[in-house]
Amino acid sequence: MTKHQEPIVDIKLARSFGINQEEFDSIQRIMGRMPSYTELGIFSVLWSEHCSYKNSKPLLKLFPTRAPQVLQGPGENAGIVDIGDGLGIAMKVESHNHPSAIEPYQGAATGIGGILRDIFTMGARPIALMDPLYFGSLEDAHVRHLFSGVVSGIADYGNCVGIPTVGGSVVFDESYTTNPLVNVMCLGLVENKKIMRGFASGSGNLVIAVGATTGRDGIHGATFASEELSEESSAKRPSVQIGDPFTKKLLLEATLELIESGLAVGIQDMGAAGLTSSSIEMASRAGTGLEMDMSQVPLREKGMTPYEIMLSESQERMVVVAPKENYEQIKAIFDKWELHCSSIGVVTDDGHVRIKWGEEVFADIPVKALVDEAPVYERESQKPGYLDKLKQFIQNDIKEPKDHNRSLNIVLSAPTIASKRWVYQQYDHQVRTNTAVLPGSDAAVLRIRGTNKAIGITTDCNGRYCYLNPFNGGAIAVAEAARNLACSGAKPLGLTDCLNFGNPYKPEVFYQMKQAVEGLAEACKVLEVPVISGNVSLYNESLTHSVYPTPLIGMVGLIEDLSQITTQWFKEPGDVVFLAGDIKSQPDIGGSEYLKVVHGQVNGDAPAIDLSAEKKLHDFVRDAIKAGLVRSAHDCSEGGLAVALAECCFTPPLDPLLNKEGTGLVADLSDLPGRSDFKLFAEFQSRIVLSCKPSDIEKLEGLAKKQGVDIMKLGTVGGDRLVIKDLIDLPVAEARKTWEEAIPNIMK
């Protein structure tokens, strides 16, 4: 038997584990004694922000989480919504921001690994990945290193596992320079009667560790994710786990085979805080206790202590709880897939987690204390001073440029607006042959095999809007996601959120967080989209500032008939182009990409948003699609109307619908109010560009009138130029080249 000598526990050690004095005192109170080294380690990870949500819990309660279609809301590994036919979609988003900041390739890769486990643990087969990414300016060489590292980490991992990466978003802004946001969302398809949950129930049942061996990688990863990055952060590179997509693929297949067999009663992935959080969360859900012998855990390194084994974040591991008599059959499944499978303990009924090495006890803690008694803080909130300053912005002080073609070219080549083909071409977006709308349109669309249905998927958040106006920014993130789905023909079923913010101990940051969450919650209520899962990533800070508040939204919606799948691109010359939604308001260029890249300012307010008008617009567009009146639908967002119209002209290469005669546009915006450049580039919400056959004009206008939605004819599809009367006249091929080559040219 190995003898493990543990270090002395005191406040200094506790602090180095991220535990403050107040928390250290309450740990001693709960234990009635000084905790052991292993116990302190367990407390530190379970009470970290990453696992306990101690600074965000009161805010998360604001989200609506119930709706008839919700089969599983927040609290499990992933949320699940019903899509009919006995099928459900499991969905969750995660962040891997800090690991990606110091080791972009492995950081991004293991982010995918983690989110995949959350999905297949529920019994769902992963069917799609989405990658919303936020970086600094590509002018910066280090940012280019982070960008290319993250993209190839995602590509190598996702491609190897064989899950298509069907979309995402990439935003570039100086606020993210040293602290990029690397979020990843996964969706899985599950037969509703086979949904699996993470319960360690049944006293006497075995606790089984399966998958890869346990090493020293990633120890304290959860704690690391719960503090600010600093100059010393790169010394924490060993806190970043190393991914093995090949083993992950085997683990995925073996786990789904195990669930199919019905041999297990509970399964949980080992993600952040490894064996500690997985086993203890399972016991907490089931109201049971656990006794585990660390000497039985398959290890990849010699001399590991119980502390290290409990806190390791080695990838590709799961915990299974199952009756003793099923053990041999379970082992046979993992043997087939050449994976480890080892019984490491039993479920008990005393509500304690007991960690042993042979007979020696290293930790003995009440489960309730670790999970339910984790601290919850209502942090101090203070309105940041910058907000009032921004309100003084007067847009008419901005000089109107003479050449709008030039402005459009500048905006089209801004990396945030430009084509992301350089990114998504590196992702396998077609494997498993369900992807009906490839990356590049408003929402990705996957058909559901064996049905006539499809799902639309999108991720959205404009961090700049949230910085300028946290409440509206939050509401817009939800509204834009729902709008993207409406444009693809889908009705939203549920959303998952990744709340990326700075350090919540800064009152200004907590203000942003609170306001943004209130905005999200309000939009969820009005647009009737429940929150089914989510993640919180705080402490996203660089040396000088917090990142823009970025509450990222991933949303899934249902398209009831494959024939209703709609894309953003114009389809045929002669089709008539309309603008639906807000066509009467004066334009406001606050927070726009135009203001930033043409005039060098981040200023003003975020765009206004009227959520009930937004809802009407979505219903109208979906109804028009259902009625077969819509040839194309595209959301107006970043870059404004001019960019939206240009994107409608950029038919994807090899598209079977690409018409030889060209899908250019001749439009006239004279009837829209406001100054010319504002008309072109203001980022109005609640606007959708539609095209229809000339023979359907009356029907489309009639439907709009009936539903109380304003609609205005803008022009006609045709030719090979993008013409906006008196303002813009560019060959489509040239504009497209500007837009398409911007990122590849920088990354050469």
Binding site: S152, A155, D156, N159, C160, V161, G162, D244, P245, F246, T247, K249, L250, K336, W337, E338, Y424, Q425, Q426, Y427, D428, H429, Q430, V431, R432, T433, N434, T435, A436, L438, R447, R449, L562, L654, D655, P656
Partner: protein, 231 residues
């Protein structure tokens, strides 16, 4: 008329190939695990795409040692039709059923997109439903698809009609701009001397429905069925 889809640890297009046979051809098909020792009397073998053994060491380099590969080689030697797609092509190269090797794409990046192919040999079990030099649209998705062989081998392939598919543009021109990965002579797919083993980097199983962007892969699957039916 039964098809075998060989599954290696790390295969990930096995499911798509299985569905292609089952849903499109409506023929019997079974997965055969790489550790098996029999092809169960199947009439056509599909080596699917993916990352067998995680592409560790070299693409296809470990999979060729899987027990089932002996049966696959035997089956091919007896004239049975074998098609290797993407990683399946790489495994065929490593196991010596086809000549040459794969290099990393010249962009050094994974590439997923739909390309045009010219079908230059329409006399094979896999191409008999195509017309000679017919252009088809099929997706590619690989990082190591930059086909390479020495000059002598390439000459032999070219002179004997063993270059089955070539990357080209929408007008059929097979020049460098139409070459997605740097492969020698724009080669996308080749066959063995007997014409019963096909290796191709593009994925015909991803091009069976207009809903997903192209249905030109139908011609390849229908050719196999046609060949087996006529046998």
């Amino acid at each position: 008329m039964k098809f075998a889809v060989i599954t290696f640890p790390g295969s990930n297009c096995d499911y798509d190939c299985y569905r292609a046979v089952k849903d499109h051809l409506k023929c019997p098909v079974e997965y055969i695990w790489h550790r098996e020792h029999s092809l169960n009397d199947c009439d056509c073998v599909i080596l699917p795409g993916g990352f067998s053994y995680g592409d560790y060491l070299r693409t296809g380099a470990i999979a060729r040692f899987s027990p089932i590969m002996r049966q696959v080689i035997d089956f091919a030697d007896k004239g049975g039709p074998v098609i290797g797609i993407c990683n399946g092509f790489q495994i065929l190269l490593e196991s010596g059923l086809l000549p040459g090797a794969m290099l990393v794409n010249r962009s050094l990046q994974f590439i997923c997109k739909t390309v045009h192919l010219k079908a230059e040999n329409n006399k094979l079990p896999f191409t008999n439903k195509l017309t000679k030099n017919q252009l088809i649209k099929v997706p590619i998705a690989h990082k190591e698809g930059n086909y390479y062989a020495d000059q002598k081998t390439v000459r032999e392939l070219e002179e004997n009609g063993r270059v089955v598919f070539r990357y080209c543009d929408s007008s059929g021109k097979a020049d460098d701009t139409a070459n997605p990965n740097g492969s020698v002579n724009n080669i996308a797919g080749i066959t063995n001397q007997q014409g019963n083993v096909l290796g191709m980097m593009p994925h015909p199983e991803r091009a069976l429905e207009q809903l997903l962007g192209s249905s030109d892969g139908v011609l390849i699957f229908d050719s196999i069925k046609n060949f087996l039916g006529a046998k």
